[in-house]
């Protein structure tokens, strides 16, 4: 297997054929922001936060879905990219009701952390304040659409890792919602195995364990690596 040598932010790096720019960068300590990407799940390129500049390409490319090529020159953190990412996060914060002060994920939220790291100190676009539902029909978990950013990690983990495909995305545009089965209450779902993987991969407080109060919901994603390693290497190791 021939490795690919490329330059990311001025550093020479190597990656395996087919490996994404995102992975190679992260493995070398360059942490490109992301929301929809989660190691172990198929990438969809939806959040647009991991877009990077590739020399010779007129368009920005999603680093999570762009395989490295020999001699590639990539820039992951130019002022233009920073500006785009900041506005994307502001759009997310304004889209639904992300009231950190009363959120179960306050202090352990990827959206919150991302806002901080990108220097978002206030949101310049207007808050939309939509009326979103909260589904508490499941005996163990809750789904608060107010906090959902539609990253679809829950959809993918349920389909690809648990194999249940309880979740999907319904409706369109800003009215899109994560739906259970064919849009029934989560508690009535026939496909949900109550495994809780969706809760653990959710980057915000949209999916949570019942009983968690403000700031108490902590997510554990180590299971993903465990399962993916088991699948790929046939070794059940932590």
């Amino acid at each position: 297997m021939r490795v690919r040598t490329l330059e990311i932010d001025g550093q020479m790096m190597t990656g395996a054929p087919g490996e994404s720019i995102f992975n190679v960068a992260w493995n070398n300590g360059i942490h490109i922001p992301r929301m929809c990407h989660l190691g172990g799940l198929t990438d969809v390129g939806a959040c647009r936060l991991c877009l990077v500049e590739v020399e010779g390409q007129s368009r920005l490319l999603p680093s999570c879905m762009t395989p490295v090529r020999e001699g590639m020159v990539v820039r992951t953190n130019t002022p233009a990219l920073q500006k785009h990412r900041k506005l994307i996060v502001e759009l997310l914060l304004a889209e639904r009701n992300h009231v950190c002060a009363v959120c179960v994920a306050n202090g352990a939220c990827e959206l919150q952390d991302l806002a901080t790291s990108l220097g978002v100190d206030h949101v310049r676009v207007r808050y939309r304040h939509p009326q979103c539902e909260v589904d508490l029909s499941h005996p163990r978990f809750g789904l608060d659409h107010n906090r959902c950013i539609l990253c679809s990690r829950c959809v993918r983990v349920c389909d690809e890792v648990e194999g249940a495909h309880n979740w999907d995305i319904g409706h369109r545009g800003t009215n899109a919602r994560v739906i259970s089965d064919f849009g029934t209450a989560w508690g009535d779902s026939e496909s949900c195995t109550s495994c809780g993987k969706c809760v653990q991969v959710c980057p915000t407080g949209a999916l949570f364990s019942k009983g968690a109060s403000v700031g108490e919901m902590r997510k554990d994603r180590s299971f993903l690596k465990y399962i993916v390693t088991a699948r790929e290497k046939h070794q059940w190791i932590r």
Binding site: L93, N97, H98, V99, C100, A101, V102, C103, N106, Q112, A115, T116, G119, V120, D121, H122, V123, R124, R126, Y127, H129, P130, Q131, C132
Partner: protein, 172 residues
């Protein structure tokens, strides 16, 4: 010592006063602060008119017409305006009402969709509570619900010392 003290004001708008409580949590540090600043206007000070000041901490969002008029008045008389706490920055708890029409909010709380809006008793509520920066220019954002005493001291201290202000360590 006759050094000129920094003129400080704190204002309480559409918030729960928790940010002011956190300010008081500075405890004995307040004494050190008092040596450097003159508290010209505050819910915890007795002043009727908003004077010309150097720094103003504004807690809470803009929820009614009085707030809107007041913040413009304050902005005109303040050199540095700080959005103090999440309500001032994002609307936060106060703005949760925005997803429900105002009339519904009032009738749920008071049984009358126009309660207080016509009698001249209460300030007329805005259709939507909004963060400060939607009405006036804000110089610094001090996040938290409430911001911790240390964070407050951090920001105010830097401003007093004329040092560069550190970027926010968190959002919300």
């Amino acid at each position: 010592m006759d050094t000129v003290k920094t003129r400080l004001a704190t204002v309480w708008m559409g918030g729960c006063s928790g940010c002011h409580m956190s300010f008081l949590d500075l405890d004995e540090t307040l004494l050190e602060l008092a040596a450097k600043v003159e508290l010209c206007y505050s819910p915890i000070a007795d002043a009727k008119e908003f004077p010309e000041v150097d720094v103003t901490l504004v807690e809470g969002c803009l929820a009614n017409r009085e707030h809107l008029a007041e913040i413009r008045h304050i902005r005109a008389r303040t050199k540095i305006l700080i959005a103090f706490g999440d309500c001032a920055i994002t609307g936060n708890i106060t703005a949760i009402r925005n997803s429900v029409p105002l009339g519904v909010v009032l009738s749920t709380a008071y049984g009358d969709p126009r309660f207080g809006q016509t009698q001249g008793v209460l300030p007329v509520l805005l259709d939507e509570a909004m963060p400060l920066h939607e009405a006036v220019k804000v110089d610094y954002y001090l996040p938290g619900c409430p911001p911790s005493a240390e964070k407050i001291l951090d920001l105010v201290g830097s401003l007093l010392a004329g040092e560069p202000v550190n970027g926010s360590k968190r959002f919300g």
